[in-house]
């Protein structure tokens, strides 16, 4: 049942990419336990606005856990303490009255901070641009039933394809590695026949871009898997490495 709680927030405030940031304390009063974490921030922000203080900037959009916009590190956990949950789907009933809540942006050199909790995840787009697609033009497609795909492969491809690109894997990884994100796309397309013609080129190009963006390598801490709101498995990284090994000995 709904009740209200009071919290102490300690929020990372950083006016711009160039300026240094620091933690600021705010009171979140009378927060309904039925509210989501972002709704709690809305309440705090509306109050700040009424007092002419710049509200806490945070990315968010769909608020139903699918767009991948939101995300912050809450008390050391990417997307907060609840597993398989985006920040927008984290509800305040998971907190107790009087809790101190420390809220920080994703921290990774590949994700420069823009403002407060907002980071630049353009690197993910550039990794996809490097090869996270099938090179088919509109109109070229054969009938959808031309190539049957075994259900297990289709299901596994779907498991990988569920990635919402939120960046929690990078945020949680002690190496700030983007391996899980990159691998999920590589594996999705490796599992499907449509992805095969470009598989060697794809894995090499996407890994190269991932490195170029300043992300770390995977040293198998599996913090990414634990943080992933969509429960993307580290086996995708195994598959990426397999694809890479394949590409190393392939001629193309």
């Amino acid at each position: 049942m709904s009740k209200t709680i009071n919290l102490k927030l300690r929020v990372w405030r950083q006016a711009s990419p160039e300026q240094a940031g620091k933690f600021e304390d705010y009171d979140a009063k009378g927060i309904s336990t039925d509210a989501s974490f972002l709704e709690m921030l809305d309440v705090v922000n509306d109050e700040l606005e009424r007092h002419d203080i710049d509200p806490i900037a945070f990315d968010h959009d769909c608020r139903e856990g699918i767009c991948g916009s939101c995300g912050a590190v809450v008390n050391g956990c990417a997307h907060g303490p609840e597993s398989a949950t985006t920040l927008c789907q984290l509800h305040m009933r998971k907190f107790k009255d009087g809790d101190v809540v420390i809220i920080e942006p994703w921290r990774a050199n590949g994700f420069p901070i823009i403002k407060d909790l907002v980071v630049d995840r353009g690197a993910f787009d550039r990794i996809i641009q490097a090869g996270g697609y099938v090179s088919i033009r509109t109109g070229q497609a054969p009938d959808a039933h031309a190539i049957p795909i075994p259900k297990p492969a289709a299901d596994k491809a779907m498991d990988a394809a569920q990635c919402i690109g939120c960046g929690a894997c990078v945020a949680a990884c002690p190496n700030a590695s983007a391996s899980l994100f990159t691998a999920a796309k590589i594996n999705q397309l490796a599992l499907l026949p449509q992805g095969h013609p470009e598989r060697n080129r794809r894995v090499v190009a996407m890994v190269e871009q991932m490195d170029k963006e300043g992300f770390g390598s995977c040293s198998k801490h599996y913090e990414c898997e634990a943080a992933c709101p969509k429960e993307i498995k580290v086996e995708n990284i195994t598959a990426m490495n397999r694809e890479y090994r394949r590409a190393l000995i392939a001629r193309d």
Binding site: G76, I102, D211, G216, S217, A226, T238, Y244
Partner: protein
């Protein structure tokens, strides 16, 4: 990075370097298994261990080549691993106010670099103790008898301080392996599905076996020296 600039890009990516660390690591695992098997000859008596050492020496130039190869593997493993660790540290220049862990991996994973560096220090000592030292003479004398390499081992590991350091070192080797072996199967892309978790169990078991196998020797020697008496 300049030294690797001449290599094709696909050989210098982080994934390729992780792969090289994994392959060199696997070779080192092979070396450790053969080394442990040889060490266990100690239980059969001085003649067996010394005969093994003699056989090795008789390889002559081949031994030099093998040692050079082993050294190259070691150097590759260490240099790339340290390079990657540095790269990874740079990827997050600012940490979080609270560092927490939620993944299923434990201390072995977290302290890979440190267990590795510990091993490096140990290996250097180990080489000066056994490989670079003469297998004859005062250090090999046990009960007034020159027992060659066997005697050398007996005397060094019979020293409680050395023995404890040796045991700590092989335990960190066990720890290193208990992550490494599960990591290797991911890096090499060998397993999928639920294999990863099974590999983690296997790696842990292997780490324990190796640590126990190596530790058993100083413990055996200490027991013999201080409790049971005698040797071999």
């Amino acid at each position: 990075m300049s030294a690797t600039a001449v290599l094709p890009k696909r050989l210098t990516s982080t994934v390729a370097r992780e792969l090289a660390v994994a392959i060199s690591g696997l070779l080192l695992v092979g070396f450790i298994i053969s080394h442990l098997s040889a060490n266990l000859l100690i239980y059969l008596g001085p003649e067996y261990l010394n005969a093994y050492a003699e056989n090795m020496r008789s390889l002559g130039p081949l031994l030099v080549v093998a040692r050079a190869g082993l050294l190259a593997v070691f150097v590759t493993h260490i240099v790339l691993a340290v390079q990657l660790a540095k790269h990874n540290r740079k990827a997050r220049s600012q940490g979080y106010a609270i560092e927490t862990r939620h993944g299923r991996k434990g201390a072995a994973t977290r302290y890979m670099l440190y267990s590795g560096l510990m091993l490096l220090a140990f290996i250097l000592l180990h080489l000066t103790d056994f490989t670079l030292r003469s297998h004859e003479g005062p250090n090999a004398m046990v009960g007034g008898e020159d027992l060659g390499l066997y005697g050398l081992v007996w005397n060094f590991l019979g020293n409680p301080i050395r023995a404890v350091f040796y045991i700590v070192a092989v335990c960190s080797l066990g720890l290193h392996l208990s992550h490494a072996i599960s990591s290797v199967v991911v890096t090499l892309g060998w397993l999928s599905e639920n294999g990863t978790k099974r590999a983690e169990l296997a790696a842990r078991a292997a780490g324990i076996v190796v640590a126990l196998g190596f530790s058993s020797i100083p413990i055996y020697i200490l027991l013999k020296t201080y409790v049971l008496g005698g040797h071999a």
